[in-house]
Structures are given as structure tokens and as C-alpha cells.
Symmetry: C2
Subunit: 216 residues, 2 copies
């Protein structure tokens, strides 16, 4: 699997050597510019949809010339892949460390929900792109993504809770898991920065609501 970020760095360096006149676009350190580009892409894709966004839209959003985008990417899809990959891997790393930690399953499930809500709120645009535009990635790239891992982590905790006797076991763990995931992921559709409820309070409340809802 190719790593588009590695690719862009190689391209960037190659070009810099070949044309020192381009150094104006490199006033900021390269990594900062790259993060800025990803943030801008997330905002524009989330608002207009990936398919409706042109490279010109992205260049306008970040305030560079369209041609300069080719220092960083070969195609618009490189940005989509990097965004989706980044948001997924970050989220899963968070949840995995909680899920595999100590404590009873229901307590870990509560912590997973609270943490996931905070992460999602901190990354609303990226989450929107992840949830809406993943189908526009090539099959090869989609197959490198651990898309089902959120579901697996949550479902496994519910099954552990059922085995421990704290979670009602008359219902398929998958149905509970998808319900929990829906409640939490839905936040990207209505939460906006500045909302009166803080991410932490929201996470705590949803975790409580789930625990009461599925307690044996």
C-alpha cells in the first residue's frame, strides 16, 4: 500500500531542489502546511461533499494556487484517503487502549462511549467526511481501512458484559452495538462548536443512558 504522505514529501523535496523560486510557498514548515491542507479539505468536503469539491475549491479555501496542491498530492483522492485513514486510526487507537484495559466490561464501555464522543466532537468535519465519502475511495484503498473495528470493539465489550452478567443477554450484542454506535456517531449531524452542552457532558450522559438501557 502506498503512503500518500510519504509520496508528497518526496515530490515536494524533488521540486524544491529543481525550482528554488517555489520557496515562497514554503514559508511555513512543510508538515504544518500539510496539516492545514488536510484541515481545509475536511472542511470543504464536509460542507460540499467530496464529489462536488474541485481542486480549485481546495486551493481557494487554503489560499494557495491550485498548481501548488501538486506539491502535496497526486489527486483529490489522496486527501480523502489521508483524512479517512487518520480519523479512523486515531479513534480506534483511543478505544482499543480503553477496551483492553482493566475494570469490568460495563465500566470500560462507559469510558469508550465518553472518549468516542469527545474525539468525534473534536473532529466533526473529518468524521463527516469519513461517514459520507468513504465510498469514493478506490476499492484497494478502502480495503486497507479497519472500518469495522469500532463496531467490533463495542460489540465485544457488550458480550463481555453479558458474560459477566451485567448486560441483558436476551438481545443480540450486535443490535445493541449498532444502537450505541448510532446514538454516538449521529452527533456529527447536529452538534456544532459552541453548543451549550460540552463534549464531556454529552459523552457522560450518553454513556449513562446506554448503561441504564442495557443493564441486566
Amino acid at each position: 500500500m502506498s503512503n500518500p504522505r510519504a509520496k508528497h514529501i518526496v515530490r515536494d523535496e524533488a521540486r524544491s531542489e529543481a525550482s528554488p523560486a517555489k520557496s515562497k510557498t514554503e514559508k511555513k514548515p512543510r508538515d504544518e502546511r500539510w496539516r492545514e491542507l488536510l484541515k481545509a479539505a475536511a472542511r470543504v468536503f464536509a460542507k460540499k461533499g467530496y464529489k462536488s469539491t474541485s481542486l480549485q475549491d481546495l486551493a481557494d479555501e487554503i489560499g494557495i494556487l491550485k498548481g501548488s496542491l501538486y506539491y502535496y498530492i497526486d489527486s483529490k483522492e489522496d486527501l480523502l484517503y489521508e483524512l479517512v485513514h487518520g480519523i479512523l486510526d486515531g479513534g480506534i487507537a483511543n478505544l482499543r487502549s480503553i477496551a483492553l484495559g482493566g475494570g469490568d466490561a460495563l465500566t470500560r464501555l462507559e469510558a469508550v462511549i465518553t472518549t468516542h464522543v469527545e474525539y468525534l466532537v473534536d473532529n466533526l468535519a473529518e468524521t463527516t467526511v469519513f461517514l459520507h465519502d468513504i465510498k469514493h475511495l478506490s476499492k484497494e484503498r478502502r480495503e486497507t481501512l479497519a472500518i469495522d473495528e469500532y463496531e467490533q470493539i463495542i460489540t465485544r465489550l457488550i458480550e463481555e458484559g453479558q458474560a459477566e452478567g451485567t448486560v441483558r443477554d436476551d438481545i443480540d450484542s450486535r443490535l445493541i452495538g449498532m444502537g450505541v454506535l448510532g446514538m454516538v456517531n449521529w452527533i456529527y449531524r447536529w452538534y456544532r462548536p459552541g453548543d451549550t452542552v460540552t463534549p464531556r457532558s454529552l459523552g457522560t450522559f450518553y454513556a449513562e443512558m446506554v448503561v441504564s438501557g442495557i443493564h441486566a
Copy 2:
């Protein structure tokens, strides 16, 4: 507000009179063909996304010539509008009649959830289009849609339950409402025809889970 269906009927009749040779495309009653076209559009939009779907894709899906689509619509957006409008109005009519019916608020909330789950499962493709592609409608058309009404119906029932003392009132009714809506709406992302759980069982279980989760 213009009604695209009325428009297509007028166009259709005008053309039929002008060119009787076209009657081959009208073997089926016009309304049946129109419903078929909407169903096909829902399938293709849901799978490929509205922006990525061409009129040619739609013609291929339904098995007619691309030019024949203009008997029914002036533009691809007419189909999107009709789909989104139809799924929304049907769903809201269902829920409104339950919400305004008799019984305590928590019982009506349970019935609303069960009914909404069944409706959503019966209309998976249309729901997907509604939830993903509404942003591609013109502002004028979007403003004719009662998009927030699902949320309002559910939130109002929760507030009634809080007033009756059956729903915990230490949490904002809006947060509970969005959680319920998320859990239920998320179904479009994972449920597929032939799933081992029936729509009714799923609706009943989610309704139960919510009631246990928010009970005072």
C-alpha cells in the same frame, strides 16, 4: 412551490399528443412507470451517491432510453426532490398520528420508535438518499421540507414524559431526542434485507432500550 410530478404529467401528455410513436414507452400506466423510476433512482443514488449518478446510469437501471427520462423530469434534481419529499412526508405523517394520539408519553414514544424503525427498513434506499444528498437540493426546495419535524416530534414526547414524571428531567430533552434519532436512523447504515432480525423485533428492542435508558 412547483410540484415536479404535476409538471411531468403535463409534459408527458403534451408529448404523447405530439408524437404518438412514443406510445411504446407507455405500455405501463404512467404512474407505475413513475414509481418505478423513483425506486430505481433511490437505488442508484443510494449506491453511487447523487452527484456521481448520471441520467444515463438511471436510464440503464430502469431499462429505458436516456431521452425518455425527460417525459418524467426536467432534471436529475427533480428526482432527488421527489424522493426526499416523499420519504419525509410519509414518515412524519406516521409519527404525527401516533404522537398526537392517546396514552401516556412514554408509551407513545415507544410506538413512535417502533413505527419509525419499520418505516426506515421498508425504505432503506430512500432513507439513505434523504440522509446523504439533501444538501444537493436547491435552497428553495430544501426550504419547503419539514426536515426538523422528526426531531421535534420526539423531543416533544420526551418533554411530555418529563412533565408526567416518567422521564428523567435532569437532562436536556434535545440531547435525549438526538440520541434516540441517531440510534434509530443509524439502521440505514447496517441493516440489509434478509437480516436475521425482523424490523418489528428491532423496533421493539430499540424502543425498550430507550425507555429503560431514560426512565426517571
